[in-house]
C-alpha cells in the first residue's frame, strides 16, 4: 500500500510538470509577440522593450520556463496586464468562491445521484427505474448553462409565481451566505454530475446484485433490505468513488459557465474576463491553479479507491 502511494505520487510529478509546460506555452503559442500582448496594443516600442527585459523574454525558452516554474512553486504567477496586480492577488478570495461552489455541487450530485441510482437499481425494470433513467439521460444531455438560464427564469424572475410562493424566490446573481444566492448555481452545476452518478450507481448495483456473495447473504436468511444496503451497496459504492473525484474536477472547470450566468465573482469568471481582455498571465494563473487542484484531488481519490478496492482485488 505504501509502495502504491509512493508510486502514485511519483507518477503525479511528470503530469504536474506537463501541466506547467502547457500552461507556460499558452503565452508563447498565442500568435504575436508576448511582450506586445502584455504591454497592450497601444504601447510604445520602448515600453514593449522594457517589458520584454523585465519578464526575461529575451532569455532562451527553457530558462524562461525554469523561471516560470520556480516562481509558480513560490506562489508567484506574474502580474495581471489589466490591473497590474499580482495574479495571485487577483485569484485570492475568488479561489474559495469557486471551490465552495464546486464542493456544494459535488454534495448535491452525490446525494441526488446516489439516491436516484439506488432506487433505480432496487426497482429494476419498473416504472420508477425507467423514469429515473430517462431523467438522468436528459440531465446528461442538457447544456448546464441553459439549465441555469431556465432556473433563473423560473425561480429568480419567476413571473409565474403566485404570491404564496414568493418566499421561494431566488436571487439571479452573485454569491454569498444566503441560500437564495447559492441554490440555483449549485443546482446548475451539480445536475449533470448527479445524472452521471445516478447511472453509474445503478449499473454498479445491478452488477453487484448478480454476484454470488449476494446469493450467499440471501441463503443466510437476511432480509432484502439488508441485502441491498449492507451487502450490495457497500460493494457498489467502490467504483462510484472515482467518479465523484472526476466530477469535482469537472465542476471546477464547469464553474466557468455557471459563474458567468450567475455573475459570480469566482475563478471561472476571472478566467473568462481575462480571455476576453487577452490578460494572459491571469489566464495562465487560473488554469494552472484549477488543474493542479484537480490533479491532487484525483491523486487522493485514486489512493482511497485503491484502499477500498484492495479487498476486491483477488490477487
Amino acid at each position: 500500500m505504501t509502495k502504491y502511494i509512493i508510486r502514485r505520487l511519483l507518477q503525479t510529478i511528470p503530469v504536474l510538470i506537463g501541466v506547467t509546460i502547457l500552461v507556460f506555452s499558452l503565452m508563447h503559442l498565442v500568435p504575436g509577440d508576448p511582450a506586445q500582448i502584455v504591454a497592450g496594443e497601444g504601447a510604445s516600442e520602448q515600453t514593449v522593450e522594457n517589458i520584454r527585459e523585465r519578464l526575461g523574454l529575451n532569455e532562451p525558452i527553457p530558462v524562461q520556463y525554469g523561471t516560470f516554474l520556480l516562481n509558480a512553486v513560490q506562489g508567484d504567477l506574474g502580474a495581471s496586464v489589466r490591473s497590474g496586480r499580482p495574479v495571485m492577488d487577483e485569484i485570492g478570495s475568488r479561489f474559495w468562491v469557486t471551490v465552495e461552489l464546486a464542493v456544494y455541487a459535488t454534495i448535491v450530485a452525490v446525494i441526488f445521484g446516489l439516491i436516484a441510482g439506488i432506487i433505480a437499481a432496487v426497482r429494476h425494470s419498473t416504472f420508477a427505474d425507467s423514469g429515473i433513467m430517462v431523467v438522468a439521460l436528459f440531465g446528461l444531455s442538457m447544456p448546464n448553462f441553459w439549465f441555469g438560464l431556465l432556473l433563473i427564469q423560473w425561480f429568480a424572475i419567476g413571473n409565474w409565481m403566485p404570491e404564496s410562493l414568493e418566499f421561494l424566490k431566488m436571487r439571479p446573481s452573485g454569491w454569498g451566505d444566503s441560500w437564495r444566492q447559492i441554490i440555483l448555481p449549485v443546482l446548475t452545476l451539480g445536475t449533470g454530475g448527479a445524472a452521471i452518478i445516478a447511472r453509474m450507481t445503478r449499473s454498479a448495483m445491478l452488477e453487484v446484485i448478480d454476484q454470488d456473495y449476494i446469493r450467499t447473504a440471501r441463503a443466510k436468511g437476511v432480509s432484502e433490505q439488508v441485502v441491498t444496503y449492507r451487502h450490495a451497496l457497500k460493494n457498489a459504492l467502490i467504483p462510484v468513488v472515482t467518479v465523484v473525484g472526476l466530477e469535482f474536477g469537472g465542476f471546477l472547470g464547469g464553474a466557468v459557465l455557471t459563474e458567468t450566468i450567475f455573475a459570480i465573482n469566482g475563478m471561472g469568471r476571472l478566467t473568462i474576463d481575462a480571455i476576453r481582455t487577452r490578460d494572459f498571465p491571469v489566464v495562465q494563473g487560473t488554469v494552472l491553479v484549477i488543474s493542479v487542484i484537480f490533479v491532487l484531488v484525483n491523486l487522493l481519490v485514486d489512493i482511497s479507491y485503491r484502499f477500498l478496492n484492495k479487498r476486491i482485488d483477488l490477487n
Binding site: 442538457m142 447544456p143 433563473i152 424572475i157 471546477l252 466557468v256 489566464v283 488543474s291
Partner: protein, 301 residues
C-alpha cells in the same frame, strides 16, 4: 457421392466470419429501441441540416439573418413559429440554419480527436514500453485540465471562431479515445493469433490495420457516438461564452448567449435553442448507449 454434392455445401458456407459478426451486430442493434430511435433522430438532423435551409429559402421569405426591428422579441405565432429574437429574426429559421453548425462541431471535432486518439492509443497499446509511457503521460497531462477548461485554454490561444472550437474540442476528445483504444489494443494484442500472424512475418503496420483495428472497432464506435454528444455540449458552451461562432452566425450556443439578455422580457429566446441542443445531444447519447448494449454480450440475458 457426386462431386456436386461435395462442392456445393462448401461454397455455400463460405461466409466471411467478420461479415457474419457485423450482420449479427446489426440484428441486435435493430432490436435495441434506444439505438433505433437515436439513429433515426441523428439521420433526421443530418437531413435537416442540409435540406432544411433549402426548403426554408425556397418556400418562404424567412432568412436566418433578416432583421425586423419592428417585430423584435415577439412570442411564437403563425408567422414566426418559435417567435423572434432581439433583432426581430425568426428563431425557427435560425435554428434550422444552425443545425449544420452544431453537427459540424460535433462530427469534425470527434473526427479530429478520434483519429489522433486512436493512433495514439494503438501505438501505445501495441508497442508498449517507453512509447506507451510517454503517450499515456501526455494524455494524463491533457486530462489534468478538467471539463471545458482545456478547450477554453486552446480557444484562448487560437482566438474565437467555429474552426478553432472544432480544433479545441477535438484536442479535448483525444485522451478519451487514446485511453479506450489502448486498453482494447492491449487485450487484442494478447490473443494468440496475433503472435501467429507475427510469426508468419506480417509487418507491424499490417497487423495493426488488418488484425487489431477491426477488432477494436466496436468500442471506438460507442466512444465516438457518446463523444459527439459531449463535443456538441462543449462547443455550444464555448459559443455561449462568446468564444466560438461569432455573430450573426445562428449557432445554437451563441443564440442562447444572445437570448440571455432578454430573459426578463422574452424567455422564449433562450428557451428554444436549448431545447434543440438537448434533442440533438440526447439522440447521440441514446444511440451510443444502444450501440454499447448491442455490442455487449453481457447485457443479453
Amino acid at each position: 457421392m457426386s462431386e456436386e454434392t461435395v462442392n456445393q455445401p462448401v461454397t455455400a458456407k463460405r461466409v466471411n466470419p467478420r461479415v457474419e459478426s457485423y450482420k449479427q451486430f446489426w440484428r441486435r442493434l435493430r432490436k435495441n429501441k434506444g439505438a433505433v430511435i437515436g439513429g433515426i433522430l441523428i439521420l433526421f438532423f443530418i437531413v435537416l441540416a442540409f435540406v432544411g435551409p433549402w426548403i426554408v429559402t425556397s418556400f418562404t421569405d424567412l432568412r436566418p439573418n433578416a432583421t425586423d426591428l419592428t417585430n423584435k422579441l415577439a412570442g411564437p405565432s403563425a408567422a414566426h413559429w418559435l417567435g423572434t429574437d432581439g433583432f426581430g429574426r425568426d428563431i425557427f429559421t435560425r435554428l434550422i440554419f444552425g443545425t449544420k453548425l452544431t453537427l459540424y462541431v460535433g462530427f469534425f471535432s470527434v473526427l479530429l480527436g478520434g483519429v489522433i486518439g486512436v493512433i495514439f492509443g494503438i501505438v501505445a497499446g501495441y508497442y508498449g514500453g517507453r512509447v506507451d509511457t510517454i503517450i499515456m503521460r501526455l494524455m494524463d497531462v491533457l486530462l489534468a485540465f478538467p471539463g471545458i477548461l482545456l478547450a477554453l485554454a486552446i480557444v484562448a490561444v487560437l482566438g474565437g471562431s467555429l474552426t478553432n472550437v472544432i480544433i479545441a474540442v477535438g484536442i479535448f476528445s483525444v485522451p478519451a479515445f487514446a485511453r479506450i483504444v489502448r486498453g482494447s489494443t492491449l487485450s487484442v494484442r494478447k490473443l494468440e493469433y496475433i503472435d501467429a500472424v507475427r510469426a508468419l512475418g506480417a509487418s507491424d503496420f499490417r497487423i495493426i490495420f488488418k488484425h487489431i483495428l477491426p477488432n477494436i472497432l466496436s468500442p471506438i464506435i460507442v466512444q465516438a457516438s457518446l463523444r459527439v454528444a459531449t463535443a456538441i455540449l462543449t462547443g455550444a458552451g464555448l459559443s455561449f461564452l462568446g468564444l466560438g461562432a461569432q455573430p450573426p452566425a445562428p449557432e445554437w450556443g451563441a443564440m442562447l448567449n444572445e437570448g440571455r439578455q432578454y430573459m426578463y422580457e422574452a424567455g422564449h429566446v433562450a428557451l428554444f435553442p436549448g431545447i434543440a441542443i438537448v434533442i440533438v445531444v440526447l439522440a447521440f447519447n441514446i444511440f451510443g448507449d444502444g450501440v454499447r448494449d448491442a455490442l455487449d454480450p453481457k447485457m443479453k440475458k
